[in-house]
Amino acid sequence: MTIETGGSRDGELSVRGLSKRFGGSRVLSDITFSVIPGEILGLIGPNGAGKTTLLESITGLCPVESGTVCRHGRELGPEERRRILWYQPDNILPFARQRVATTLSFFRHVHGAATAELDELITGLALDAILAKPLQTLSKGYRRRVLLAIALLSRQPLLMLDEPFDGFDLRQALSVMDLLRRHVARRTMILSIHQLSEAEKICDRFLLLDQGRLLGIGTLETLARQAGLAPDATLEEVFLALT
């Protein structure tokens, strides 16, 4: 099976031969792909596929056995990665005891974002009602929105979000997708998503991952062709055909 890894375009981020083991088991196997500037790349796979590990490996937060992360064909060191990538992990509660407004203000300052930008995010994510509350007291949906606001305040050109739609109902998910679409005009995104229906709605291309192996990367049409399906096949059909 031939796997398309994406062309070599100027300004893109390339991941080459990324492999990682946890104890005796291999969690990432020789992952190679490229990210096209301005796109939303969906990292698709079931729970335990290795999506979070892949994101943390790209960011440099967790050690890898082998592999490189390059930009403009040049390997990125830890400092350059911090300048270019921002990874928003899933299920974290930064500064949980302090007010959401204080936490957002802190991240606005350290990212150097404008006050107007934060105000826009507060409105866009409907955070006004919970600004005075501590993060630890919020519902899963609100927590997720606060984390999204922190991520969108960052300046790095490549944004990686782990399960950004988890905990949202359909209407909230669509609203967040709209917000991300507006932001993608200025940056590239990699979204780790396990709900295929949501991924299909927002992502330009998909990277299918299962048990640490790269099953395919490309547009839905390309992947359908790779799976031997009709061009109008759904992401779910493609994923099932390839796994």
């Binding site: 050690p63 830890p78 974290i92 802190f106 991240f107 350290v110 007291t137 200025r186």
Partner: protein, 452 residues
């Protein structure tokens, strides 16, 4: 339109420092530490003043006893004993939060992506802890103020040295707690590791007391023992370097273990290299160790004429001591004239002769027991005395020199009869209530914001 560049590292560091201070100030552990330290310091101070006053009454009746009334030993050291307890048993619980809480909440994953190195990140956290450590000195500041207002005497160099000693000790404890949090997955584990090290050092100090050789050397570098040196007014470069070295060691270890993308094996390797570097540096410092006596009563110093004469001894002075390690006479000798000789004589060799079996009532059967033998350039002498007044003339006789003591002003002593009881309101009520209010403020605010 591309995103604008982020702020400078210096600005990020400033915001992060503010965030760290906010996080620590919201922690009830900090206020609990301050409240407990205040009560302990207040109790120690009031008791110390009562005992000092009792002794002073006798000294005021018999002026020759006044020289024994020293505020450093009588008031400050016992009062700061309360800080020692707080720093050893409570401070780790506050300090582990610097790293542990961010690790548990996941905030660390975000902070490590900021354009700051793990070294800068840890330095900012340490700076925040340092600023709040100053807050915990509030009861100590009040002690100095009240003592001064009562008419008590304070000698600035020895008082400053005492503060510096506790500052260095706290620095080591904080860096140990940071390291423990960096290698642990949870706050309770980190707390246990920190306490194991600080209490372990305390136990080591007990365990090696009365022992000689390597154990004695090891014991002299336990955290407790090193802090004790600062309490006597002796500024020894070896102990300053050892405490600073330990703090730097644990601080760098913390940064190694927080550096993302490293395997456990590479972190262990880096830690071992660091151990090697630190050991070499400390060995170097110990070779060139020097000391400065900052005590007002010059308890660590010989008469200036004696010091000068001993410094010029070119040959090797060998002292062979026939005393058991646990004999109080040896302890007096070690802490008295021998400690001064070690600092003054360039080539001094001290041998501890085997004392043989002890008799029925603990007395040695060795006929030489209690004897101290002196050898200098082939000449030999011996004595049973452990006092400077007898030992120094023996050494001068062997060296063939005559030394005339310089007149130095005698330490007058500072007897004072006072009552510190009324100050108890501050230590037992005002400060603890303020701490309680500050701690509860965070908790109540949290409750109100949650249920509004």
């Amino acid at each position: 339109m591309p995103l604008p560049e982020g702020p400078s590292r210096a600005r990020i560091a400033r915001y992060l420092l503010g965030q760290e201070l906010r996080s620590l100030l919201l922690s009830p552990a900090l206020w609990l530490l301050l409240a407990i330290v205040s009560i302990l310091v207040g109790y120690s101070f009031i008791q110390a003043v009562a005992l000092y006053s009792q002794a002073s009454r006798t000294a005021l009746s018999f002026p020759e006893l006044a020289a024994g009334m020293n505020p450093l030993d009588g008031i400050l050291v016992p009062t700061f004993g309360a800080y020692y307890l707080g720093e050893t048993l409570l401070l780790p619980f506050v300090a582990i939060r610097l790293i542990g809480l961010d690790k548990e909440s996941g905030a660390l994953k975000l902070l490590l992506q900021l354009p700051l190195s793990p070294l800068s990140l840890c330095a900012i956290k340490l700076a925040a802890m340092g600023l709040l450590w100053l807050l915990t000195l509030l009861p100590a500041g009040l002690v100095l103020l009240f003592w001064h207002k009562m008419g008590g005497h304070l000698h600035l160099p020895e008082t400053a040295l005492l503060f510096a000693g506790h500052g260095l000790y706290s620095l080591v404890v904080v860096t140990i707690a940071m390291f423990a949090a960096a290698i642990s997955d949870s706050l309770p584990t980190a707390a246990m590791i920190s306490l194991a090290v600080t209490l372990g050092s305390w136990v080591l100090d007990f365990a090696v007391s009365g022992q000689g050789g390597t154990m004695a050397l090891l014991g002299s570098f336990s955290l407790t023992s090193m802090l004790h040196r600062f309490e006597t007014g002796l500024l020894a470069t070896s102990h300053v370097a050892a405490l600073l070295g330990l703090a730097l060691f644990f601080f760098l270890l913390t940064t190694f273990w927080l550096r993302p993308g490293r395997t456990t094996l590479s972190r262990l390797g880096a830690s071992l290299v660091l151990v090697g570097i630190l050991a070499s540096l400390l060995a170097g410092v110990l070779q060139t160790s020097s000391a400065l006596d900052l005590s007002e009563n010059r308890r660590h110093s010989l008469n200036p004429a004696d010091s000068r004469a001993l410094r010029h001894l070119e040959g090797t002075l060998t002292m062979t001591i026939h005393l058991d390690r646990r004999d109080s006479r040896l302890l007096d000798l070690e802490h008295g004239i021998l400690a001064r000789l070690r600092r003054a004589v360039p080539h001094l060799v001290v041998r501890y002769a085997a004392t043989g079996a002890t008799g029925l009532f603990g007395a040695s059967e060795d006929p030489k027991y209690g004897l101290i033998e002196y050898t200098y350039e082939g000449r030999h002498d011996q004595s049973y005395s452990n006092s400077a007044e007898e030992i120094l003339p023996i050494i001068y006789r062997l060296a063939g020199i005559t030394v005339r003591a310089e007149p130095v002003p005698a330490y007058p002593g500072y007897p004072l009869v006072a009552d510190a009881g009324p100050t108890g309101w501050w230590f037992y009520l005002v400060i603890p209530l303020l701490c309680l209010a500050a701690g509860l403020h965070g908790m109540l605010l949290n409750f109100y914001q949650t249920h509004r």
